[in-house]
Symmetry: C2
Subunit: 495 residues, 2 copies
């Protein structure tokens, strides 16, 4: 490498490190907004978010980046990956006008509060003008990014580099028939699994939740857990925070959302510390991120072996709560029922929720669906897919935060994550055939290590699908997830 090339690499990395630090600051501002911010600060916060976005946009379009990118010639894999990420960000940022980027930051900061308020009052009309504005801005952004191509693909690529709407269609084509058939078998089964009943004090739920987070590898020295309306994970490196929510009648909601967010957090915390505040220092894509949360929550956390341990923990924490047998508890945890809320959905229905959102948001972005028609479209599709009529907007079109903050193209990465989690789980069981012994003891150390060593530590070193393939030793497909689901639920529902 010439001296000029080395200097350009150094300049790029130093610039990127500062940008990464500022992105962490902006992200923590988002965390604060959801957990700590006083209600009356919404307007000012919008200005703050917009100002940060302006700073970040200016950095991402810094003309020096172009010169450095031309001159740099990194020699090792990490350097090449970092450079590729920087180039990608630079090219993306150049396409979006600064004024638009700032406007999106300002509007989506305020719109989140309007959504939360509308949701709490089940008032769709109060949210629609804001949503229309967000849709308009995101379409404008999509058009700027797509440069004549598909708007939705351009937005999706932000969350899952290299993925397209057509690719998602293909995935759903593979998943849908077997999921629908599995759903029908379960709902037609003579075995009835009753939901959990009783009240479980919030304080004890939170105590056990902290234990669960630690079991799944969450490092509280580099993170913290708070309450929020919507569970999420925020931050990278040394400061990765998770949130949860507590319903006294539904402890599984809290426990499994904590395990889920812990999966995300352990991914961020598990990235090679050498990559701290570099462009490859975080999770590589939303799909791969979701594979980490999902394998923790479902394939491991809802396994027969782990639920046996959790059953014991719950009896210790709450006393006898009406379920004496571990097998009965396992079925209860995995109960399948059509429900309104995506984040509470069982593994069989979950991807049907995503298919609905994918089709609707793609139609919104393509201009095939008007915001004014969104609620009706949601309700029709939900009735068709789930056989249940939406009873109120907070159980329907207002339930998710995503669209309010402009996350169009994000939803399908959840299903992609489920698919990846199926693959990783198959490979994990192959490599640790006696894993159930650990799970029964509430010991996730070997599983956590396997995930960290095979996947998490690489951060953004490899492309998303390559990251999964390297960890698994085979190319990802829908088959492992489908076989896993068919086996598991066949066992529980007896077919």
């Amino acid at each position: 490498m010439t001296e000029t090339a080395a200097a350009a690499c150094e300049a790029l990395l130093s610039h990127a490190r500062e940008t990464a630090a500022l992105e962490q600051v902006a992200g923590r501002l988002g965390w604060d907004q959801e957990t700590m911010m006083p209600r009356g600060a919404a307007h000012q916060r919008g200005e703050e978010m917009a100002a940060m976005e302006g700073v970040l946009h200016a950095r991402r379009t810094d003309p020096r980046l172009g010169d450095w990118l031309d001159a740099a010639d990194p020699q090792d894999a990490a350097g090449k990956a970092q450079l590729a990420k920087i180039r990608r960000g630079y090219e993306r940022a150049q396409k979006v006008p600064a004024a638009l980027a700032q406007e999106i930051a300002r509007v989506t900061s305020v719109s989140q509060g309007i959504w939360a308020e509308a949701r709490s009052r089940d008032d769709v009309a109060a949210f629609l003008p804001t949503l229309a504005e967000v849709v308009r801005l995101k379409r404008e952004e999509g058009a700027a990014l797509a440069a004549g191509g598909d708007l939705y693909d351009a937005l999706l690529d932000d969350y899952e580099p290299g993925m397209t709407g057509a690719g998602i269609e293909g995935m759903f084509a593979a998943l849908r028939p077997r999921l629908v058939s599995l759903r029908e078998k379960i709902l037609g089964s003579s075995r009835v699994v009753a939901p959990l009943e009783g009240l479980f004090t919030a304080e004890t739920q939170l105590r056990l939740s902290r234990r669960l987070a630690a079991v799944f590898g969450y490092d509280f020295e580099r993170g913290r857990m708070d309450l929020a309306v919507h569970p999420f994970c925020s931050g990278s490196g040394q400061d990765v925070r998770i949130t949860t929510r507590v319903t006294e009648s539904d402890p599984f909601n809290c426990f499994y959302s904590v395990i889920h967010e812990t999966g995300h957090a352990a991914y961020e915390q598990g990235v090679d510390p050498d990559y701290l505040l570099t462009p490859i220092g975080g999770g590589v894509s939303m799909g791969v991120h979701e594979s980490q949360s999902r394998i923790c929550e479902n394939q491991l956390g809802r396994s027969r072996a782990f639920t046996a341990w959790l059953h014991g923990q719950m009896r210790e924490s709450f006393g006898e709560f009406g379920i004496a047998e571990a097998e009965h508890f396992y079925a209860t945890v995995n109960r399948v029922a059509p429900g309104y809320i995506r984040t509470e959905a069982d593994e069989v229905h979950y991807n049907l929720h995503i298919m609905l959102r994918f089709d609707l948001e793609r139609a919104l972005m393509r201009g095939d669906l008007a915001v004014g028609d969104l609620e009706a479209a949601w309700n029709d599709r939900f009735a068709a897919d789930f056989g249940v009529k939406v009873d109120r907007p907070s159980n329907g079109v207002l339930q998710d935060v995503h669209w309010s903050i402009g996350l169009f193209g994000y939803f399908p990465t959840y299903s992609l994550g489920n698919l990846y989690a199926g693959c990783l789980h198959q490979a994990l069981r192959r490599d640790l055939p006696d894993l159930d012994q650990d799970l029964q003891a509430g010991d996730l150390n070997r599983a956590n290590d396997w995930l960290r060593d095979g996947l998490r530590r690489h951060g953004g070193l490899y492309a998303p699908a390559e990251t999964i393939e390297r960890a698994c030793g085979f190319a990802p497909s829908a088959e492992p997830l489908l076989s896993y689901l068919e086996n598991k639920y066949g066992g529980i529902y007896g077919f």
Copy 2:
């Protein structure tokens, strides 16, 4: 105003608004560090603070500012004040090299943690190398700012525009003899006031503290209260947060630090909303800020009338706690005793604590005192002024956070605030002669309004001393504070 001049004004204000928003973000990062940040995030946080400082420094030295400042010609008082603040910031920032500003941000972010750790272990040696580094950097900054003048004056001017070390010396020359004499009379008095005894549960203290904050005008819709090692107030406009700490054996510590921080917060929250995120949208100086916290804490909060109400509140909250008479309670709240800790000092000793720090930090900045000799100098001076030997560093040189984060020149503004509070109190009593009736009922509304209308709403519109003079109707001096103290303590200690 010409079109060019108007455009320049608009450009300046828009630029300043974004800078103000980013300063709020950086400030909230500081709040987070003291209240929420996981322990293991210290290194990363240093990088984040440095990156924010880099952004702010670049904005403050933006060469376009110079052109706009040359062209702008604002017509109204607010516009002129905003322009003057921008000019001041621009000129200051140009003097300090960006690398130095970032280095200070990085070092002081990390050094705060090192100080806290050293303080908790009473280990001065563990802190000294860091302090030496901070002193070196601040002297470098002072030299850059002073441009041949006095280093300490240059740093002091950051916190109290227009004030000098000589001015502070003059103030202390007026205060010291009468304070020392008052101290001697009290300590020589035959009346003995015993300290409060008993344990007061933390939860109840915090509940009553929230009540006290509301009474003194804190708007919880635009703020929040959390726990921290060191009570502080952070933020401006719509998001002004306070912290406190709780000691079960010493509820006055919590109550009066909350009233104190509420004074700061109500100042920030009381600024004219038209000035939100402009250069005059916050408190005008640290001295004026401290006048707001001090008048709430002392002249009002520790008055005979208000403590009568607080006495009733405490009996309601904690039951009988050993003090049955309001007059006895009033004396207990105002008990004078030489103590180690500045923030817990009574009104008579408080300014002696500041004099000590002022002399030491001025010597450090001028190079007349080496960091290695600081502890001995502190201990000698403390013994001389307070008649007590420092028993351990956390009660001595390690007690304050200020030096660890580079706040040299800040301490004397506390005494200035006390002096200003004395003036404001005299004027307030003149305008509301029946104020004690309100205070006895725990009703601070008229006092809060008087402070807001006469002072707080102006933000940075007027210079610090002018702000006080306009609110009072007379020029500030030490006399009102000294007469107030002599009258009050003469009454309590009977001379």
